[in-house]
């Protein structure tokens, strides 16, 4: 699959996982599928789990996505009461990075394609 993904992961390893616009270390020739995927937004979902503390989840959402305390709290409450909340909407690469960073914090996060591809 994606050479882009590998290159981005390797770039991210050296800056604490922050998505950057660093030049890839080699020329990448994406195939058609990758271009299609990159054009369509993906959603990042945080799922309810019984171990992560509410205050911790709120803090992590603020820290990783720059949300206000009010917005992060509202998302955390959605996670808690509805079982899940969409916390980001992004390209596949960036969604993967968000999921990775949420996993670094121990949150139960996943990603899926937002709606049908047309």
């Amino acid at each position: 699959m994606s050479r882009v993904f590998v290159t981005r992961c390797s770039a991210a390893r050296h800056n604490g996982g922050v998505p950057t616009t660093l030049e890839p270390t080699r020329v990448i020739e994406p195939d058609v599928d990758e271009q299609v995927a990159a054009d369509h937004p993906w959603i990042v979902i945080v799922w309810n789990d019984p171990v992560n503390l509410m205050s911790y989840v709120t803090f992590v959402l603020q820290k990783l996505f720059g949300f206000s305390n009010e917005k992060a709290t509202a998302l955390m409450l959605d996670v808690h009461h509805k079982g899940r909340a969409v916390v980001a909407n992004d390209t596949r690469e960036r969604a993967e990075m968000h999921v990775f960073r949420l996993h670094e914090h121990g949150l139960w996060a996943s990603m899926e394609k937002d709606g049908p591809s047309t």
Binding site: M1, F5, V6, C9, R13, G16, G17, N48, D49, P50, V51, N52, L53, S55, Y56, F59, K63, E96, V99, F100, H103, E104, H105, G106, L107, W108, A109, S110, M111, E112
Partner: protein, 162 residues
């Protein structure tokens, strides 16, 4: 009786983690155990099952993508956790001020231990189920889990204020 001082607090432009010797030793021992579990080249299935909350699935609806994600990212995640564990050891060995990045690593590591203990205890928020597996409410592991929750709250509070 001395006045209560938060175990984690902001100080100047940084933070201090101020634990007693016994508490520090306990956390460093737990971190050491978790490090061994994560670096064991052939862990037994029981250990694998305890680590399940540390490696959540990224793709629920696509097995191929999920396999790809785990193949590419699991080792990254392990390395990230091991680096954070090293920072915990350094932080608890010294008494100096630490910056936000180091406190974030301490916070993540405390939560990693909680996630494993939570799995061990069968923690649930199902209103029809017990909070932990029956019989474990008074176990040492449950008290440890509660203590680490308390410590994590103080990390969040300090970082939120800092």
């Amino acid at each position: 009786m001395s006045r209560f001082r938060p175990p984690v607090r902001s100080k100047g432009d940084g933070f201090v983690v101020d634990l007693g010797t016994d508490e520090s030793d306990l956390i460093r021992r737990l971190i050491g155990e978790l490090r061994s579990m994560l670096t064991d080249p052939s862990p037994d299935p029981g250990v694998e099952a305890l680590l399940v909350r540390l490696f959540p699935p990224a793709h629920h609806d696509d097995h191929e993508m999920e396999a790809e994600y785990q193949r590419l990212m699991r080792e990254e995640l392990v390395q990230s956790k091991l680096s954070a564990f090293d920072i915990v050891d350094e932080t608890l060995a010294g008494k100096g001020r630490i910056d936000e990045a180091r406190l974030l690593a301490v916070m993540q590591s405390i939560n990693s231990i909680r996630l494993v203990l939570g799995t061990m205890l069968g923690v649930s928020d199902d209103p029809d189920a017990d909070e932990v597996t029956a019989g474990l409410e008074s176990s040492a592991e449950y008290h440890l889990y509660s203590y680490l929750s308390w410590l994590l709250e103080w990390c969040v509070r300090a970082l939120g204020a800092g």
